[in-house]
Symmetry: C2
Amino acid sequence: MKTDSGTIDVGAFDFECGEEIPNLRVAYESYGEFDGDNAVLVCHALTGSQNVAGYGSETTGQARAWWNDIVGPGKAVDTNDYFVVCANVPGSCYGTSGPPSGGPDGEPYGTDFPPVTVGDWTRSQRLLLDELGVGRLHAVVGGSVGGMNALDWAKRYPDDVRRVASVAAAPRLDPQCLALDAIARRAITTDPNWNGGDYYDTSGEGGEGDESRNPSDGAQGPTNGLALARQLGHVMYLSKSSMEQKFGRRAAGRDATRDAFPTDPAASFFPYRDVESYLDYQAEKFVERFDANSYLYLTRAMDDYDLSEGYEDDTRAVAAYEGEALLMSFTGDWHFTTEQSEALAESFRDAEVPVAHHVVESDHGHDAFLVEPEKVGPPLRDFLDSGVSGRAIHDTDEEEEVDDGQQFAPVHNSLFSG
Amino acid sequence: MKTDSGTIDVGAFDFECGEEIPNLRVAYESYGEFDGDNAVLVCHALTGSQNVAGYGSETTGQARAWWNDIVGPGKAVDTNDYFVVCANVPGSCYGTSGPPSGGPDGEPYGTDFPPVTVGDWTRSQRLLLDELGVGRLHAVVGGSVGGMNALDWAKRYPDDVRRVASVAAAPRLDPQCLALDAIARRAITTDPNWNGGDYYDTSGEGGEGDESRNPSDGAQGPTNGLALARQLGHVMYLSKSSMEQKFGRRAAGRDATRDAFPTDPAASFFPYRDVESYLDYQAEKFVERFDANSYLYLTRAMDDYDLSEGYEDDTRAVAAYEGEALLMSFTGDWHFTTEQSEALAESFRDAEVPVAHHVVESDHGHDAFLVEPEKVGPPLRDFLDSGVSGRAIHDTDEEEEVDDGQQFAPVHNSLFSG
C-alpha cells in the first residue's frame, strides 16, 4: 500500500472567529492511490491524530493507528480501493498549527492561537485536499466529534462529497456533556501550572516555522488538570454497564501503585480500586501525549458545534446536500445518543436526503465505535461501496415498518443499568 | 413544636478502621416530643447537616432545612406525631467531630482524623440516641447516602428499628459513580492549596475542645478543587433530560459573569452557557459552606459502603432485620438507579422481610428526592403510619402481578434521552 505522511502549508488562514494566522500548517497522512474519484476523508475524534491506520508517525502515542481495525488493505475502508486521507485538525497538537506550535515569532502560540471551530477544521481539510489535487470526495467518514466534522462537510460543501458517514456523533452536544466538558476545562485552567496557557518550555528550541512541538517529549504544564480532564472523558466514553463488566468494585491487583496523584492519608484504609487504577493509568499516558491548551481549544470547538447554526433547523442545514448519509449510533452511548442520531435521521429524511440510521446494539458506550470494529466495519464498507442501500446496513426507518409501531431500535430499558 | 439543637459528647469512639479519638462530639437537632415510642431518625445526604427542617442552626448554608418540605408539623414526617432526630455524621463539618474540628491539642484534626465509614455514622447515631434516652426507634429514614445509612441500621441493629425507609439509595455504589467520586477527590488533592489536608487558618482560634470550625467563616483551602468536586456532584444529581429542560444550550443572561474560575482567552469567543453559570454559582456557594477534607472523608465512606459486607450477600445481610422496609427510587436517577433498588427489594423479599419498592416516575434525576416532595411525601407518610401496606405505597411486586410479565416499573427507554 502506498502511504504518505507529511505537512502542507496552506498559507494565511482566516478563522471563523475573525482572527487570522499568516500560515496554517496541516499535518496529514494518506493511504492508497488516488484515481481521481476514490478519495475518502477520515475525520479524527477529539484527541485523535492523522495517524488513522498505523503507518507513518510514531509520535502520537495512544492516538496512533486509532482506527487500524477499520482502515487498511482489505478492511472496511479498503485502502486497496480508496485513497484515504486523514488530517490533524487546527488547534490540535500532532503537527497541524495549534496552541503548542510555533507562531511567526518562533514562540509557541499558546492561547494567542485563534479560537477554532469545527467549521475551521472542515475548511482546513478543503484547503489540504486542494493541495493534494482532490476535488470531489467519494466520502467523508468520522467518529465522535469527527462525525460532527463529517456532518459539517455535508452542510458546508454539499456538492463536494458523495457519501457522508457520521459515526457515534450528533448535530450538537447536550447540556450534560457541555457541563462535563466545562468542568474538564476548569480542571486545566485552575491548575497553577497552566499559567494562563503559557507553560511551554522553549529552551533550546524554537525558530520561525518550527515544527509543531512533540507532546511525547514529555509532560509539561498543567498535567494534574489535564489528567483530571482525561479521566472525565473516559467516564463519558464508557457506559455504566461496560464499567460494571470491566471493573466492578474490585480492588486493583497487588502490583497496582497509587502514585499518579497525591492522596489523602485516609486513603490507605480504603481499597485502591480497579476503576481508579485504570483511570490513573490512562491519565498518565494521556498527559505524555497531549497538549493541555489543545484540549481546551478542541473541547470548545466540539461544545460550540451546532449543525443548525445559520439555518432554521437541522433539516434546512442539510437540505442542499446532494449525496447520501449514513448515521451510526450505539445503544450504550450516552455521550452521543441513539436518540440524537434518530432525530438527525428524521431531519435528513425531511430534507429528502437518502439516509440510513444504523443502530448498533452495544454495551461499550461511546467507545464502541473504536472497540467494536466487527460491528462498525460491515455497514461502513457497504455504505462506501453501495450507499444507503448497502446490504449490511439496517435503517431504523425500515425496522419501523417491519415492527409496526415498535420502538425504532433495540434500546435498553436503561442505558445505565447493569 | 418543641425543637432542640445542640451537641453531645459521647466520649471515646473507636472507628471501624481501628483508630480512636478521645471524644466524639455529635451535633444534632430534634423536632417534636418523645413519647417513648415515636422516635424517627433522619439520616442526611453527603453534604447535608442535622438541620433537616429549618429550625436551629443558621450556619449551614445550603445544607440548612434540606428536607423542610418533608419534615415538620403536618408534613409527611409529621413532627406533631413523631420525635424526629437528625445528627451530623462523623467526618462532616457541621458540628460533629471531623477533620476541621479541634482535636485533643486544640488544632484541627485535618487528615489525622480517622477514616470514617457509614458504619461509624450508624454507631455514632446509636450512641447519641442512648444519650437522648431513645431505645428502639419507630423508624429510620434517609436519602442518598443517608439511605445507605438507613439500610445499615437494619443490618447493624436489626431489633432497634421498626421501619426503615431508604430513599434514592442503593446497597453499594456502581463503578461509574466510584470513578466520578475518585475524580472529584483528585480535584481536591491536586489543588496545591489542599496542602496534604493542612490548610486551616488557626490564627486567633483553637483551644482544647474548641467548637467545630464554622465553614461559613469563609472559604479556605483547596477551593478550586472543592468547586470542581461539587460541580461533578451536581452533574450526578441531575438527569440528562432535566438538564435539557433546565438549561438546554442557552447562553447565560446578560448579567451572568464568568468570574468563578480562571478561563482561557479563547473563551471570550464562545458563549458562557446557562449550565456553566449554574455550576459556577453552585460551586461558589458550596466552597463557602463545606470543608474539603470532609468532602474527601464522606465520599470515601459512601464509596466504601457495601450492605453485604461481612455477609455472603444482601439477603443474608438483612435477614435478621425484624421490621419493615420501604425502598423509594426515581426513574431518572442514574446515581442510584431504580434497577439497584429493585435488586435490593428482591433481597428483602428473599429474606422474608416485609418490603415495598416504590418507584417514582421523575425526570429530576437523583435530586428528585429533594425537589419532588409531593411525590416523596405521601408514601413516606403512609409507611411511617401503616408500614408497607400504607395506601399511597405502590410496590413493584404488586405491579408485576397486575401487568402480568410487564417490566416492574415505568422505566424510560433511556434515562438519558430528552
